[in-house]
Symmetry: none
Subunit: 276 residues, 2 copies
DNA sequence: GGGGGATTGCAACATTTGTTCTATGTATGT
DNA sequence: ACATACATAGAACAAATGTTGCAATCCCCC
């Protein structure tokens, strides 16, 4: 078996033969895919030290892929590097392209849709960073870190965000149950939420009525409510102690979840730092 | 005089000192500027032979530019190569901005965490656009639009993405049930998936075993499987007909969901366009 | 529990690498 | 025409590289 001559084929070979490799060689494989530049330029010794393996393991890895030695494998990474640096479209070219799909003039089809989403997603994230007040963020983190139980609520398109929050906060060994309506029970547990707890609620328009009502109810009962919603006119803005407003200024006919998801992950990590 | 550290400075040094160089060194200089890639990767001996000089001349050339030896000079060409390959379309535009984020808000605390997430999220999205093959995307859309039933599968941190896919595809009036394990039933419905259906599976490391096994099973039974996973070594890469690999090149110790979520939304919209 | 195969660590090996040294050649200026 | 300074070529050297062989270890199957 001769070794692959280009990087894509190499990736294919790797996925195919990965399961049959020894644990050590698997380690090397993951490293190779995650640090292709190092693989291209570093020496065997340095790479081996970086991975925590003997240089011989590198050679065996290359041989397992059909190359005569490590050099043959490295050649693939090197050619990839020079090719990537060669087909460098001019900067002018790229600027036009980004403007094009920013403006929505990119040719249609699935690829166009993806470019559009990526562009809007980036805009979304930039706006997120701009609009979130550091004070709010700090307050929310403190609140969450100190709450007895964090109840997480979000339905329909907001549910993925809510689920993630519950999942990840639980990983931090916090009590963070998800308020869902499995079996039709939703309002009942909500009544048990107290001022020492916290309600983390996610909703965008049009705001699911049940969700809004639970938030209002809790807020009225002095439960600290943290909301993730779209703008200042949201009913959640009036029914929360801290409200993250993620404005939507995209070309899409419906809400993107990129920014809310990002905020959710950042929140969780910040809470984790606060605790540990 | 210390040698220049980056390629542009090196070019400046060269133009300045070129007239005072010996004819042979001038030859080397022109070659170096005309074949920067060879200068980055080849050895002294091969380069010297290519130019028609002795290896020692290469060393003297480097020393004439202020480097200790040829290796120091070559380092400049190498870093140029990796930088050019990093500034690939997409990354270029926002790199400065990301650096700004990092520089401006690196200090710890919730705000720092958020800016870090935003920066990594943007990088993520750009890599998404770069790595997704348009052909794969088109094929996936066609497959999904034509499937009798689309089964959606994803657990733990991948569940939000899976849920969203199921939710949004259902909004398009497609049959897109979520394969969950409520009540412990997961394997049974999976057996009913046939070649006219499709399985849309999301999983990242470490890949939930149940999920992987269902995907493998379906793939073996000729069910079209579309996977969203992290890299070429994922078991899903081997158990799918179409595989979207969302590489993870962030500073975070765990997976970000920004890019997968974005891909999911783009997929849904593209399917919608295909239908309508 | 023990035997056999695969896997890994270690060290020695031959080769190649970058560098340096010296001798030869070459141009320049007096 | 000669001396001097410089440029070049070639060989020699030490360091580092990629590679291989062997022994120790782990793990699985009988």
């Amino acid at each position: 078996m001769p070794g692959a001559r280009n990087f894509d084929d190499l990736k294919g070979d790797l996925t195919r033969s990965y399961p049959g490799l020894s644990p050590q060689l698997q380690n090397i494989a993951t490293f190779a895919l995650e640090h292709p530049q190092d693989m291209a330029l570093d020496t065997v010794a340095r790479l081996a030290k970086g991975i925590g393996v003997q240089p011989s393991a590198m050679v065996r890895f290359a041989q397992a892929l059909g190359y005569e030695g490590f050099s043959g494998l490295q050649r693939v990474f090197r050619t990839r590097l020079v090719e990537r640096s060669n087909n460098h479209p001019g900067l002018r070219n790229y600027r036009e392209r980004i403007e094009a799909f920013r403006a929505g003039h990119e040719r249609p089809g699935p690829r166009g849709v993806l470019s559009q989403f990526v562009a809007d997603g980036i805009t979304s994230l930039e706006q997120l960073l701009e609009h979130v007040a550091p004070a709010d963020l700090a307050a929310a983190v403190k609140l969450l870190a100190g709450a007895k139980t964090i109840y997480v609520l979000g339905h329909r398109r907001s549910f993925p965000v809510a689920y993630y929050l519950s999942y990840a906060l639980t990983q931090l060994e916090l009590r963070a149950p998800l308020l869902d309506s499995v079996g039709g029970m939703l309002r009942e547990p909500a009544r048990l939420i107290g001022p020492k707890d916290a309600l983390l609620v996610v909703s965008f328009r049009n705001y699911t009525p049940e969700v809004v009502e639970i938030a209002k109810d809790c807020h009225a009962r002095k439960v600290p409510v943290i909301a993730i919603t779209d703008n200042a006119l949201s009913p959640l803005a009036r029914a929360s102690r801290i409200c993250f407003q993620i404005e939507e200024k995209t070309s899409m006919p419906f809400r993107m979840l990129v920014a809310p998801m990002c905020l959710a992950q950042a929140l969780v990590v910040a809470v984790g730092e606060q605790l540990g």
